[in-house]
Each structure stands twice: as structure tokens, then as C-alpha cells.
């Protein structure tokens, strides 16, 4: 578990390490990732070797002792452990802080971290069978194929779409009978569907909902294997209400989109698009990205669309911890901006990263890239006084008094803690 209050929140700038630092003879260092606490920067390192390909990870310039044929997908866990997917003798495993998991697989990818625990999981293939491995333990049952994995909030379960029946080549008839289901920790539901997409857990990790097609034309939602009674023209991903366990999903009727709750319309289908539903933790507020008119994008809160809109797209919707505020980043005329609580902040950028709310929900920050490629942090509408070669998304202190900027500045990776009052 991460305890961010133990991180160094003393205001000031800390130079962590030179960006190209490397304790060994490296041919190259790849794209950096940085830890949530800001103390570490990691890069895949190609070690100079005349004979064979040798890779490892450089963390703050220090190479792991273990080396591999190939390393990719470096990712820090929420508690700042470094993971990477690595191979030896053409077999793959996940490596945590230089220590490989014992079991080896034909392939491994898509590392996932639990929100509320230290659990780490990844998709694996072994002998052309597919499943998941969590903290080194594989699913008991593997499948012909798996897609769309999701972890329960406490990290104890993984649900995924699984292919439960073989489909001979070009056999469109077997496919139409239904060959897909959802498995939780390797145990499939007792029912197949024509398709399943985007499974999701409820807040307690006890139930799973997923979008299904019961024929090529009929869409609905299935919860723990049981489909809703009605069928719709099309549906997107479901979400559980964390307050009462009901399930919502956007549905299409007569060419327009609305929101359904437990098979009943709660937002009449009048949007040109409606997706990415998100609840406040108490379930009182339901947000979703919507297009109230063709090509105009914003958020609807409990069915009511904001007045401010983007012309091109909305990419990320983020809800504040108290569930009362929301922020979206989006694009108009090829430039990125942000709308917070239906107010458009000044400034257009070449790129914008997902907004971050402070734990007390009072502040919003996000990383942006300017036209010249320099990046900075915008907090509550104000840009930091300095631009950087690269900046990662800001991190707030648990007491919401400070914001941490993780950045590359003049060839050095730095971690800067700024009191919000002085930003």
C-alpha cells in the first residue's frame, strides 16, 4: 500500500539524477518512466555487447544486476516499485525491482496494478493458451483467447472476456452460436454470448458487468452472467453505482444515445454520443462524456450537458474525490484545452494530459505541452513560472497543501515540491 504522507513534501527542488546517467556501458537508454513519489526515473537500457542482445533497466542511472534478452513496458506500481516485462531464452516473465517472478511464459503483456493494494497482474500466453498471472500466480484455467482484463479494486480478482469454444477457420456459424464469456479468476460464467466487451467490477469486487451482443444485432448488459431483458441497437461500457450497486451503461435507440440504469432509460436517448460513464464515490452523481449535437463534445452530469464544449473531441474525464467536480481535456481546431466545472480555462496547447484533483477536491492540475515542445504544469488555471523539457502529471500531497512537479530540466530529472499557496 502506498502511504503518500510519508513521501518528502518539503518545499523545494531536488535534483534526482542526470537524464542520461548510466552505471554501465550502455548503447542506448529508452523512454523514461517516473515513480509516483517522484524519487525515481527508469529507462530500459541496451548494454553494449558484441555477442548478443543484452537489456536491463536503469533506475536513477543504476543498472539492475539481472540482465535479459529483451525488456519492455517499464511501469511503476502505485507504491513506486519498478516492473518490467523481460525475456530469457525466449521465455517471458515480469520483473519487480530486478527480481523476476519464478514462472515463465510464452509471452507476457499489459501489466496492471490494483488501486487499493500492492497487487500486480499481467496477461500471459502459455502453449497458445491465454490467461492472467497475479503476483506470480497464474489462473487455474487458461483459454483459447482472452481480452479486456480488469482488476477488482482490492486486487484480489481479475475478470476478462474469454473465448470458451474453438471457432474453426472461417466458421461463421459456430461464432454466431456464442463462443465468448467472462471469467473471474479463471472461472467462466455458465453462459456464452456472441461477444462480450469491457467487463467491470463493482466497488466491492463481488459482481462483474459487461456489454454483450446476443446476436449480431442485439446489445445488452450482462451482470454476473445474467443478461438484461431488453435488447438495444448498440451499447457501450457499463459502470456500477458504488452507492447502491445498480448498473448503468449508454445505449442507442433511433440513432441517438442515452443512459440506462438496470435496463431502464434514465437519460432519454437524445445525444449524438454518450460514453465513459463515471460515478462519484457515493453514487449520487453520474457523469459521462456526451455530444449534445453532432461533433460537439462535453460532459453531462446527471443527464444535463455542460454549456462549454470542445469541437473536436474529449479524451479524458476526471471526477474529483468528493464527486462534486469534474474536468475534461479536449480538442478544438487541433489544440488541446481543459474545461473544469463547465468553465473553460484560458490557454490552448499542443497536448494536454489527464487532469488531477487534489485530495480535498479544491485544486486541479494538469501537464501541458506548448507548441515548441516545452512542457509545464497548469494549476487552477495558472501556469508554473517555468517550462521544462518534459513534465509528468502533477501529484498532490495528501493534505492538499503541496503539489509535486516531476520534470526533465536542463538534462536533469528533478522533483519540485511547491506549496499551492505559492504556485
Amino acid at each position: 500500500m502506498k502511504d503518500a504522507s510519508l513521501w518528502d513534501w518539503n518545499p523545494g527542488e531536488k535534483e534526482i539524477v542526470a537524464y542520461d546517467a548510466c552505471s554501465g556501458d550502455c548503447e542506448w537508454l529508452e523512454e523514461p518512466v517516473v515513480s509516483p513519489d517522484g524519487e525515481k526515473i527508469a529507462r530500459v537500457a541496451k548494454i553494449r555487447d558484441e555477442e548478443e542482445a543484452v537489456f536491463t533497466l536503469a533506475v536513477n542511472g543504476e543498472l539492475w544486476e539481472s540482465t535479459f534478452e529483451r525488456c519492455w513496458y517499464p511501469r511503476f506500481s502505485p507504491d513506486s516499485r519498478l516492473t518490467a516485462l523481460c525475456s530469457e531464452m525466449a521465455e517471458w516473465t515480469l520483473v519487480v525491482d530486478g527480481e523476476p517472478w519464478e514462472e515463465r511464459y510464452g509471452f507476457i503483456w499489459d501489466t496492471r496494478f490494483a488501486k487499493d493494494s500492492g497487487a500486480i497482474a499481467a496477461a500471459v500466453q502459455q502453449d497458445m493458451q491465454y490467461g492472467y498471472v497475479k503476483d506470480g500466480e497464474p489462473w487455474g484455467e487458461f483459454f483459447e483467447n482472452t481480452n479486456h482484463p480488469v482488476m477488482s479494486p482490492d486486487g484480489s480478482k481479475i475478470a476478462s472476456v474469454v473465448q470458451t469454444r474453438n471457432i474453426p477457420q472461417a466458421d461463421i456459424f459456430t461464432f454466431k452460436e456464442g463462443c465468448f464469456s467472462v471469467a473471474v479468476n479463471g472461472e467462466p460464467w455458465d453462459r456464452n454470448f456472441v461477444n462480450c466487451w469491457d467487463p467491470v467490477f463493482d466497488a466491492k469486487g463481488e459482481s462483474v458487468a459487461t456489454t454483450v451482443r446476443t446476436s449480431l444485432y442485439d446489445y445488452t448488459i450482462a451482470v454476473d452472467g445474467r443478461a438484461w431483458n431488453s435488447r438495444y441497437q448498440c451499447m457501450w461500457e457499463p459502470r456500477f453505482n458504488p452507492g447502491n450497486g445498480s448498473v448503468v451503461a449508454a445505449g442507442r435507440q433511433g440513432g441517438k444515445w442515452g443512459m440506462l440504469k438496470d435496463d431502464e432509460w434514465i437519460w432519454e436517448p437524445r445525444f449524438f454520443q454518450c460514453w465513459k460513464p463515471a460515478f462519484s464515490d457515493d453514487g449520487a452523481n453520474l457523469y459521462a462524456v456526451v455530444a449534445p449535437s453532432f461533433g460537439r463534445w462535453t460532459v453531462a452530469v446527471n443527464g444535463k450537458a455542460w454549456g462549454e464544449k470542445f469541437k473536436q473531441a474529449v479524451s479524458d474525464l476526471v471526477i474529483s474525490p468528493d464527486g462534486k467536480r469534474a474536468a475534461i481535456i479536449g480538442k478544438t481546431d487541433e489544440q488541446w484545452g481543459i474545461i473544469v466545472d463547465d468553465t473553460r480555462w484560458v490557454g490552448w496547447f499542443a497536448m494536454a494530459y489527464p487532469p488531477v484533483f487534489s485530495p480535498d477536491s479544491r485544486h486541479v492540475g494538469y501537464a501541458v505541452e506548448r507548441k515548441d515542445g516545452q512542457m509545464t504544469i497548469i494549476l487552477d488555471g495558472h501556469a508554473y513560472h517555468k517550462d521544462f523539457d518534459k513534465a509528468w502529471s502533477p501529484v498532490f500531497s495528501p493534505d492538499s497543501q503541496h503539489v509535486m512537479i516531476r520534470c526533465l530540466d536542463g538534462g536533469v530529472y528533478k522533483r519540485i515540491v511547491v506549496p499551492i499557496s505559492e504556485f
Binding site: E30, G106, D171, F175, R252, Q312
Partner: protein, 451 residues
């Protein structure tokens, strides 16, 4: 039955043979009854035909000016069955006129026309004095076929693959990334510091391809990677579903799936925070992300800028990012893919790139936005073996065009065009070599990093 009538019946049977050979259509028809046919047709026409359908149908004056535009018509001795207006008559008009009360025999022919005798190439639109979009009417017919469950087997299978895996060829998630690693390893023998950067957040370019590339044409990924590397591009590829930009659902009329695929593709690019998507040499995928699928999702334009390879290669040359080392001396001709020429106007950029690498270019006529389709496009080639002959016989005009150039190399910057023209070359013993732009650029560019 009179002798003439028997002969006609036999001829019709001959004509329909590919449909008899297609279980996707035949088994689908078995399940249908008159009431279902009538209901599905009427519901679809009413809900989705709209005012546009009415206007299109009422405007047509049957003048036949569109006929000469169609390669099928020209290749079948001007048989009116193959004229654009003839195709509409054999499909949507009849459904409208009979208010959905059509027979199974009628549907057999309608599927055939819609799926295998029209490439949705939109050449005919340019010759109709009223701008009637036959391709739109044929697409609507395919939508009805989809709803009736009588889509040809092979293209239906690709649509199923899209729905289950988000790619066209049942490529599993590990197979995709593994094929990229494989190409990267191979390329390091040639360029020791070569990389195919995966999952690089904030890169300028998200490079996407169609699933046949990792499956059958991995050299195209290799070549594109070398070009990106030597051009010093800041690029990435995705390791997650969304990497495939292709879309057979657009062609089967499964528009809901088309929307799902495009959402996935664009959201994957937005997840990686790229400035633009550069896509490989594919025409239909371009149509799907640049024009059709994006709009179904209610994006008025594109959420992420889309650049076709032809456009991208021209940019690299113009900016001096890649340089010509050697030039092809043999006679080269250019095939214009409908979706990026009529659909996007890339004809001059295509020529800029070809001329930069080829000294002896000879044009086919008509060309550019007046080109004849390869006859594989619009999902026709994806209908598979039973219908192969239909598109080859239906495009003798392309064979004539190719022959007349006397060229030994044909450049076609599109996967479907490659498939179609390869078959035309083979069937007509033209002995021509077919190339992507990537083939030519890779072979003839300067590669300072190569050993």
C-alpha cells in the same frame, strides 16, 4: 419451358454459381421467411434510408450516363446488368418498389451485386449529372443483407474477428507484439540501433497498420520502421488492441461494430498522447477512420489527425528527412487507389514520391481521380475464393490499361489494390511486378545508419 427460357435459366444459374458456393449467403437464406424479409427491409429503409434515399431514387432519370464509369459494365461488353443504375435496380429500388416483398432468388442476386459486383469506388458519382451516389445505395443494400444475415462467409468472418479481437485476422494480442519484436530483431542485423518504439507516450506519430501486415506482410512493418528510423521520426506503435486500423464491418454494413472499432483506434492513439496517426498503405482503412467510422461516432472530423503513408512519405521527401540514393530505371506505372485519391486527393503527392524514385514513369489513362478501381476494393476481395473470378472478369479494363502502359512495375499504395491487381496481372499473364511505396523507398533511399 421453352428452349430460350431454359437457356436463360441456365445462364442465370451460371451467373449465380458463386453465391451457391457461399454458405454465408445460402445458409442465411435458409433461415429466412417472407415475413422476416419484408419486415427487416422495411424497417431498415424507414429508419436508415431517410430523405436521402427518397431524393436519390426520385432524382435518377435513368439516363445511363453513369454506365461507362463502371469497370464492371465496361468489362462485360456494356451489359446493363453491370451498370451502376442497373445495380441499383437489382437491389434497393426493387426492395423499395415491392415494399420489401422480395423473393429469396431476388436476394441471392442482390447480395451478389452489392457485395461482389460493386467496389463502392464512387467513380460513377462523378459522371452522374445529379451526383447520385450509387455506392451509398449499395452500402445500404449491404446493411440490409447484414440485418438479414446473408453476408458472404469470408467477409463475415473478418467482421467477427474485428468484434472479438479488434483486428481483422484473429491476431492474438501476444502475436501482434511478438511480430513487432521479430521485425525489430531482424532489422538490427541491418541497422544495429534500430527500434520499433512500443507504447511511447507523447510521441509525435502513432503508426497503425491493418492486421494482414503482422499476419502475411511483415516486411511492410520492417520497411516502415526503417523509414521512420532513418527519417528520425518520433514515433510509436501500440501493444494493445486498437493498433489495427482496418474495418470490414464498414463494408458488411455492421455499422455499430464500425463505430466500436473506430472508437478503439482513436482512443488508443489519444491514450498514447500522440499528435497524429500515420497509417500504412491501405485505402479502405483510411476511408473508415477519415470519413465513415469517425462520423458514426459523432466526431465531425477526426479526433486525432490522420495521415496516409502517401502523404507522410511526400512530407519526408519535401522536408529532406529521407533522401533518394538510387532510382528505378524500368518502366513504372501508378495505380491510384480510390479511397485515397477520389476520397482524399493524394494523386499529386503520390506522383511526387513515385517520380522521386523512378526515372521512367508512364501513366495509365484514365488516371488520378478518374482512375478505374482495382475491383478488389469495397470489401469485394474479402468475400473470398468463391467470388474471385467475379472481380477478375469484371475488370478486364484494368488489365487493358495495365497492358497498354508497357510497364514492368506497378506501384499501388493500398493492400486491397495489391490483392486485386496481383490477380489481374496473373490471370491476364501481364508479367508485371507489383510494389508498395514502402518497398521502393526502403530499397532506394539513403540509409546512413545501415551497416
Amino acid at each position: 419451358m421453352s428452349e430460350t427460357a431454359t437457356a436463360t435459366k441456365e445462364k442465370e444459374k451460371d451467373l449465380l454459381q458463386p453465391i451457391y458456393d457461399d454458405p454465408g449467403v445460402m445458409k442465411g437464406l435458409e433461415k429466412l421467411d417472407e415475413a422476416t424479409i419484408e419486415r427487416v427491409i422495411n424497417q431498415t429503409l424507414e429508419a436508415e434510408g431517410g430523405a436521402r434515399l427518397k431524393i436519390l431514387v426520385e432524382t435518377c432519370v435513368h439516363c445511363g450516363l453513369c454506365s461507362d464509369a463502371c469497370h464492371f459494365f465496361m468489362s462485360h461488353d456494356r451489359d446493363p446488368k453491370y451498370a451502376p443504375v442497373g445495380k441499383v435496380k437489382q437491389t434497393i429500388w426493387e426492395m423499395l418498389r415491392k415494399k420489401g416483398k422480395v423473393s429469396k432468388e431476388f436476394l441471392m442476386r442482390a447480395v451478389q451485386v452489392a457485395h461482389t459486383e460493386c467496389n463502392l469506388c464512387r467513380r460513377c458519382v462523378q459522371y452522374c449529372p445529379f451526383g447520385i451516389d450509387t455506392a451509398h445505395l449499395i452500402s445500404l443494400t449491404r446493411r440490409i443483407c447484414h440485418k438479414l444475415g446473408i453476408t458472404p462467409q469470408y467477409i463475415q468472418d473478418t467482421a467477427h474477428s474485428h468484434s472479438a479481437t479488434y483486428n481483422q485476422m484473429w491476431v492474438k494480442e501476444d502475436e501482434w507484439t511478438d511480430s513487432l519484436f521479430w521485425q525489430e530483431d531482424e532489422s538490427r542485423d541491418e541497422i544495429p540501433n534500430m527500434r520499433i518504439p512500443l507504447e511511447k507516450e507523447g510521441a509525435d506519430i502513432y503508426y497503425s497498420v491493418i492486421a494482414p501486415e503482422p499476419k502475411f506482410r511483415t516486411q511492410l512493418i520492417y520497411q516502415a520502421a526503417v523509414i521512420m528510423h532513418e527519417a528520425g521520426a518520433d514515433w510509436t506503435m501500440s501493444s494493445l488492441p486498437g493498433w489495427d486500423n482496418s474495418d470490414m464491418c464498414m463494408f458488411t454494413g455492421d455499422l455499430e461494430m464500425m463505430g466500436r472499432l473506430k472508437r478503439r483506434h482513436f482512443e488508443d492513439a489519444m491514450r498514447l498522447k500522440v499528435k497524429r496517426i500515420v497509417m500504412g498503405e491501405c485505402g479502405h482503412a483510411f476511408r473508415s477512420i477519415y470519413d465513415t467510422g469517425n462520423r458514426w461516432d459523432a466526431w465531425e472530423s477526426m479526433p486525432v489527425t490522420i495521415q496516409h503513408s502517401v502523404d507522410f512519405f511526400e512530407e519526408l521527401l519535401r522536408l529532406g528527412k529521407i533522401k533518394v540514393k538510387t532510382k528505378i530505371q524500368e518502366k513504372v506505372t501508378i495505380h491510384d487507389p480510390c479511397n485515397i485519391i477520389r476520397g482524399r486527393g493524394l494523386q499529386e503527392k503520390l506522383r511526387t514520391v513515385v517520380h522521386a524514385f523512378c526515372d521512367n514513369v508512364v501513366e495509365m489513362y484514365p488516371n488520378k481521380e478518374h482512375n478505374y478501381c482495382c475491383s478488389a476494393g469495397g470489401g469485394v476481395i474479402n468475400c473470398g475464393p468463391p467470388h474471385k473470378n467475379t472481380r477478375i472478369v469484371g475488370n478486364s479494363v484494368k488489365a487493358d490499361q495495365l497492358r497498354e502502359t508497357g510497364a514492368s512495375i506497378v506501384v499501388a499504395p493500398c493492400h486491397n489494390c495489391h490483392g486485386g491487381i496481383e490477380d489481374i496481372i496473373h490471370a491476364n499473364h501481364l508479367g508485371m511486378e507489383l510494389k508498395f511505396l514502402g518497398d521502393i523507398i526502403y530499397e532506394h533511399m539513403e540509409k546512413p545508419d545501415a551497416i
